[in-house]
Symmetry: C4
Subunit: 283 residues, 4 copies
């Protein structure tokens, strides 16, 4: 086995998803990612960390070693190492190992916030999982197709929230905790999204009236994004029906499993040969 | 009347739902289940339990006796007693009577939590009601058909919630109550689902900004599961498509305005004479 | 003008809604109802009531007198006074005047709660407004058509909420405020509907995990009733399309303003003479 | 270049949106509006204002000057200055500059609330942004078309909320904070919209039962506005129906599979050759 064939084999296993070995590799990687996230989470629990600090460190070094090997092998077997290193997944793979090495390089940093920041930067490893959510394409595409409307929707919400925030600032004022406009806008968002923490609450009758208006508005405009996405999604789901056309009467709207035109009874193109471009070619 | 015919009759009454006697049996059973749940709930109210403890005990023994008899008779009249005992409903029926016998067997257990646990295990009796929610099939089926998309959706939500939880952990930190990552993830779930208890609240401007982002995101992605289920449900509700059958190849799934079978091209029954019974026969 | 013609005229004005006089009568009645509700609400504000008690009383007596006259006239001019008195609106009209007369009959009642109860019973006057929400029929009908599914949905929610309530009762227990199962079920409802008051909050990690599960479940099943109603509503809104049939090719699905069949081009029935029974005959 | 042509040129740049200069002018204006809003928001933060008070004042005067110049130029180059001054945007443009001049005219006003009110009236500048949300038309139109149903929906919610508010007022009473009916209606709105601040919480079992009912009702009727808007929106999105025009009677609104005009019966263009441009030309 030449070096070149080793590289090709490794490439098929590591980057591909269709071979048996490739699938096993993917499952192992998912398990390792989830394991390393678990270590990160357990480390943040004070009691747990006090008792098992050393063991968690060892696990962390082990996972980092595995990810380092994975990154090296990906660089080695990729036909275009530079392109991989610069791609979204290449950067994610690098970000997944950097924090641990950083914390080893600067072990004497004692400013707690920085230590905590570097430590939790390992959370980027979760993005390695995105690779395995390929089927999220339909959802992504409907979101993309609706992006103009979503932008308008968010602009309108921003304007509304600013106006309501300023109004409550005037009505309630700093004496009831509404001490600055940004805080009041935060209150308006908490209210219009129906979250309602209750840390900032209107106390004058006028303020309660304004809050009621904000809630009812939020309650009814919750329908707008729902309607937008539903409409886009059902359009997306019907897309293949529009792509099958009868060669005789030229009518569309046939199901993807239809063999004969439902309007004139003439034979349709072979379903297997039809280009039902529901799923665009993957990277 | 031979023993065999007694068994058959009992089987029809207890397992069947179409005879008059069977329906009366079902209604009685539902009443007994609801009664036993009421006893369980009343028992948990300290004041009420203090005053009526003895009477509640007697009721409880009575209900357990009735469920025991029901279980015995089901075992007796079922043509495959073993299969019944191992089935979902068989296990539920057994779980419904076990806790009371357990509490009788170990009356001297004084560890409060265990007593409470055993006592409330009787709640499994509520699952006996599921038998009577047969019509929930349409809902169940749409959920099943959308399970891939729901899985992707929940994976995405999990990833989002973990990222937001870690970010708020770094921004707010233990000094404002965000003392560990699991707790922060709990906060992120409370926020993204718009529940908003208010027990954990961001107190720095940066944290409030992050919380606002989380809320708006949660507010807009509430549309995604809604859209998924709506699309699946309206597909499922096109039940009449399933009722138009081709006289030649016997396949279903034709549109209500189809003239020819989309599978074999032979002519369908005249759309006007077709029985498009919107509602499938009810039990 | 005979007495009979006076009765008929009054009937047309008071019960009818199409004449000019009838419309003016309706608008006046709506104004009086809203006015009497305003008096009720103002009376409940301690400061306001202390200052304007006497004036509010006079207004209240005036409104009651007007409603009494209205009730008398309705009884007088209705062709079937008994049927009116027993109908839904007849009972509402009676309930609207009773509380004030009751409070006049028993002026010395000093038990505050009873006084408050009798006073606020005047709220039933709000139901007099329902008469003017005739267009709520489409909404009502979709709700009625979906009632089986809504029943199943609420049964499932009840079962879920009971199970989650019992589980949190076992996990958190009375020491964290979850002192009885009904209170825990209340917590589960507060959580699953994403209201989240924050008066009862899980404090153990296990309880917070269970709460997270409850929220995510509530967040995703919010889609189910939405999906049900949307599907019913869009079916209801398309109903007239199914009722117009082409006399030549017998195809349906024409818009309500279509003059010619879109499939064969032959003339459809005159839109004005078509029976588009979208709105069933009202009482 | 005559004065007239200068005016025309200015008009095209300032009121038009299609020329290069017009687009640059619009972008600058948006930046200035956002900048002036930022100044307003920063001014409201006590710490920030204490330190940078003078600088913020200078910025504010600068923005006001720019808006004044813009208003003057618009008045100057508009062909109908009076019509512009009285139009929605004309009034907004005037309101955007008035508050600052008012605060200069009355510098000695020391009543804090009035100062704050005048200062935040500058928030109306945000409405200048509405000019640039032209594409919100589809959303606006669906809301307008559904306005009857939305009115019925809000009337029903108002009635429900009043009834629930009065009921909780009777059940819980002033001793648990439910001190007047308006406050109780506020509680009912907070609950039915699933906001749930937690500032007013039922404390009796009966009150908690009523609250549970309110929540479940709110949870299920959230579907109604969603359903209404979704149905209207998807109708609105069938925009290609508006693009198929009959060659004989010039009427639109034909289904994409229609062969004959539904209004006059004449043959439509061949469906395959029709330009069904799903997205109308963008600006």
């Amino acid at each position: 086995m030449t070096e070149s064939s080793v590289r090709t084999n490794l490439y098929v296993i590591i980057f591909g998803t269709h071979t048996r070995a490739g699938k096993i590799f993917d499952l192992c990687l998912i398990a390792i990612i989830l394991g390393s996230l678990l270590v990160l989470i357990l480390e943040s629990i004070p009691d747990f960390n006090a008792q098992w600090h050393q063991q968690l460190r060892y696990f962390e070094y082990g996972f980092t070693l595995l990810f380092t090997v994975e990154y090296m092998v990906r660089l080695y077997c990729s036909p275009h190492p530079k392109a991989y290193a610069k791609s979204f997944y290449g950067i994610i793979d690098l970000l997944a190992i950097l924090p641990t090495y950083l914390s080893l390089l600067f072990p004497t940093v004692s400013f707690m916030a920085v230590v905590r920041l570097i430590r939790v930067m390992r959370i980027f490893r979760i993005l390695k999982l995105v690779r395995y959510l390929q089927d999220s394409n339909i959802l992504m595409r409907s979101l993309l197709m609706a992006r103009r409307k979503i932008f308008i929707f968010f602009s309108s919400v921003s304007i509304l929230v600013t106006i309501f925030g300023v109004l409550i600032y005037v009505i309630e004022g700093p004496e009831h905790g509404f001490s600055s406009i940004p805080k009041c806008i935060y209150w308006a968002i908490v209210t219009i999204t129906t979250v309602g923490y209750g840390d900032l609450v209107p106390q004058t009758p006028l303020g309660q009236g304004l809050a009621s208006l904000t809630m009812l508005l939020g309650y009814s405009i919750i329908a707008v994004p729902t309607g937008i996405i539903t409409a886009e999604l059902s359009k997306e789901m019907n897309i293949h029906r529009q792509l099958v056309k009868c060669p005789n009467c030229s009518q569309t709207g046939h199901d993807s499993d239809a063999l004969y035109c439902k309007h004139c009874g003439s034979q349709l193109a072979d379903p297997d040969k039809r280009v039902v471009s529901g799923t665009p070619p993957q990277r």
